[in-house]
């Protein structure tokens, strides 16, 4: 067959599987071969579970032969390495969990297995999801498939690179401050951070619990809808998951945006440091959407200047608390040979955690320590309320908000590693959605002069993922950006 199976989208592969033109074993084998061929250059995976994947593909083929096929039956997916897979290593990109083998599956994994999906392996990430470039991984380096000298974005950089380089048909990552949307933008694919509470986080290694959300990364919008259908919904085991009705996310993939009001946050577009190619691509996308019947209105998010500061206080505080569990006692790395308990904790944590994780633990511990709590955590939690109100007010006059995902295309590997504050500031457009708990999505909307992908961010009201998907779908149908693939 002339068609390269690893290049298929999920919905196309599903059609071919249903017509028995291909088998899941052929498809999975093709994707595993693709991984073998390009992994040296891309570095997307921490673990590849070849045997388990082929066994699940075989099982899927049996199901299909009996006429039982659902949208993800026999579809090979990758998973960010902070979502627990029973019996299969889950490292969180950290030396402290390098050999951790979870005794249970995350709800997400249970759901994907139940849907018949094939799990290929676990993807690289910034250690404990702390970073915007995947350079903070304690285990390996991931490169951008479009330009191997550039970062893939982060923290779900391995997941995004694996989708962009056709090393899987789709992936799941996590997004605490942009960690799905920003790498999707840098790798020229679709990424969605659902509403906080939409997807169960049981079995997701916690970073900042009031911000973390699991979401899909895919080759096109239809695939994003299919992945959302498979994993959304309330879970008794995640007390922050929300009992909201789950729609069929493919039902909203309809043509026509007549009457849609797009809010353009004035603060985002007047912010300095916006790359001219990014700015031009976003402007062009807005014209395309207007051509489809949408209307653009100016809106104000007055507390935008404080988003980065609020985020880094809250995320670091929550991280310092969540990461206290890594003490070398019950699981994970232990510094051997210590005879004193406190010394064992200290050596375990100092040797097990990388630099960025230690830096954030220190910031968080400082901000929560006696005498500083009100000035930092207390203050940030209040400003967070104002940031949420900004969005509520904006959504009184518009249906969705549109902005860039990142102010520049992917930067060079090593360019920002020694300057954490600059790295933090590069996330200004994505952080607010996590603080407000609203859904956000990245859709390819152009390329830089240097040939790097640029993403458009669409944000909406709580539990209104359908409208984001509809806008993204209409834009995708009217553009070709998602059809261009990196050459490896």
């Amino acid at each position: 067959m002339a068609m390269k199976l690893h290049e298929l989208t999920i919905h196309k592969a599903c059609g071919l599987l249903a017509q028995k033109e291909i088998s899941s074993q052929e498809l999975t084998r093709a994707v595993l071969s693709r991984i073998e061929a390009v992994e040296d250059r891309v570095g997307a995976y921490i673990s590849v579970f070849e045997e388990e994947a082929m066994a699940r593909a075989k099982r899927a083929d049996r199901e299909i032969s009996k006429g039982h096929i659902r949208p993800l039956t026999g579809i090979p997916l990758s998973i960010k390495d902070l979502i627990c897979t029973k019996g299969l290593k889950t490292t969180c990109g950290s030396k402290i969990l390098e050999n951790f083998i979870p005794p249970y599956d995350a709800t997400l994994i249970e759901k994907l297995k139940g849907a018949g999906a094939v799990i290929l392996g676990k993807t690289n990430m910034d250690e404990f999801a702390m970073g915007s470039s995947t350079e903070n991984s304690g285990l390996k380096l991931t490169r951008n498939p479009w330009d191997l000298t550039c970062i893939p974005g982060g923290s779900s950089g391995g997941s995004a690179a694996s989708v962009a380089a056709d090393m899987c048909l789709g992936s799941f990552g996590s997004d605490t401050g942009g960690s799905i949307r920003q790498p999707a933008s840098h790798c020229g694919i679709i990424g969605m951070k659902p509403t906080y509470g939409r997807v169960s986080r049981f079995g997701l290694v916690a970073f900042a619990s009031s911000l973390d959300q699991i979401g899909p990364i895919s080759k096109d919008v239809t695939d994003c809808s299919l992945l959302m259908n498979a994993v959304s919904g309330y879970d008794l085991r995640d007390s922050t998951s929300v009992q909201a009705a789950v729609p069929d996310f493919t039902a909203c993939l309809q043509h026509g945006l007549k009457g849609l009001k797009i809010g353009i946050p004035e603060q985002y577009h007047s912010s300095g440091g916006l790359d001219p190619d990014v700015s031009a691509s976003v402007e062009n996308a807005l014209k395309v959407l207007e051509g489809l019947g949408a209307e653009c209105v100016g809106v104000s998010l007055p507390h935008t200047d404080y988003v980065v500061a609020v985020y880094y206080v809250i995320a670091s505080c929550e991280a310092s608390s969540n990461l206290a569990r890594y003490d070398g006692v019950r699981f994970g790395f232990r510094d051997e040979g210590q005879t004193d308990l406190i010394q064992m904790y200290r050596q375990t944590r100092s040797r097990g955690f990388g630099e960025e994780v230690q830096r954030r633990i220190i910031i968080g511990t400082y901000a929560l320590s006696a005498g500083y709590y009100d000035a930092y955590y207390g203050k940030a939690s209040q400003v967070r309320t104002l940031i949420g109100q900004d969005f509520n007010n904006a959504f009184n006059t518009c249906d969705v908000l549109i902005s860039p995902v990142a102010s520049t295309p992917a930067f060079k590997i090593g360019e920002k590693v020694d300057d954490p504050l600059t790295m933090y500031l590069s996330d200004v457009f994505t952080l607010a959605a996590n603080l407000a708990g609203i859904p956000g999505m990245s859709v390819p909307c152009g390329f830089s002069a240097g040939g790097l992908p640029i993403g458009l961010q669409i944000m909406g009201k709580h539990f209104n993922e359908e409208l984001l998907l509809k806008v993204a779908y209409n834009f995708e149908q009217a553009s070709d950006f998602h059809k261009k693939r990196p050459v490896l």
Binding site: P103, S210, V242, Y312, V313, V329, I342, I362, K379, Q382
Partner: protein, 95 residues
């Protein structure tokens, strides 16, 4: 400087981290800059503003108190760096 070396050492101790001289210098300077940046929050008038701890406000998530299957002891201990007779082994705690 926004944060002194001694404060960083104190906080690192609270967080059970052991910093060498080079990391200490680097962290003091970087964290100092980050904290100065965070101080921009003081420009915001937050008098009377309630705090947000969760973006989606949920009331207590209660569940039935029913006996369910859980990890057995061997599974729970399967990742322990050192174990003996169904327990985790740690360095001596009481002197």
């Amino acid at each position: 400087m926004k944060i002194t070396d001694d404060e960083v050492i104190h906080v690192a101790n609270l967080a059970r981290l052991d910093l060498d001289e080079a990391s200490l210098k680097k962290f003091s300077s970087q964290i100092g800059k980050i904290l100065e940046y965070i101080d921009t929050l003081n420009r915001v008038d937050t008098a009377g503003v309630v705090s947000t701890s969760h973006a989606i406000s949920l009331v207590n998530a209660f569940r039935e108190d029913r006996i369910q299957e859980h990890l057995d002891r061997d599974q729970a201990l399967s990742n322990a760096p050192e174990k003996e007779e169904g327990s985790v082994v740690v360095p001596k705690v009481v002197g």
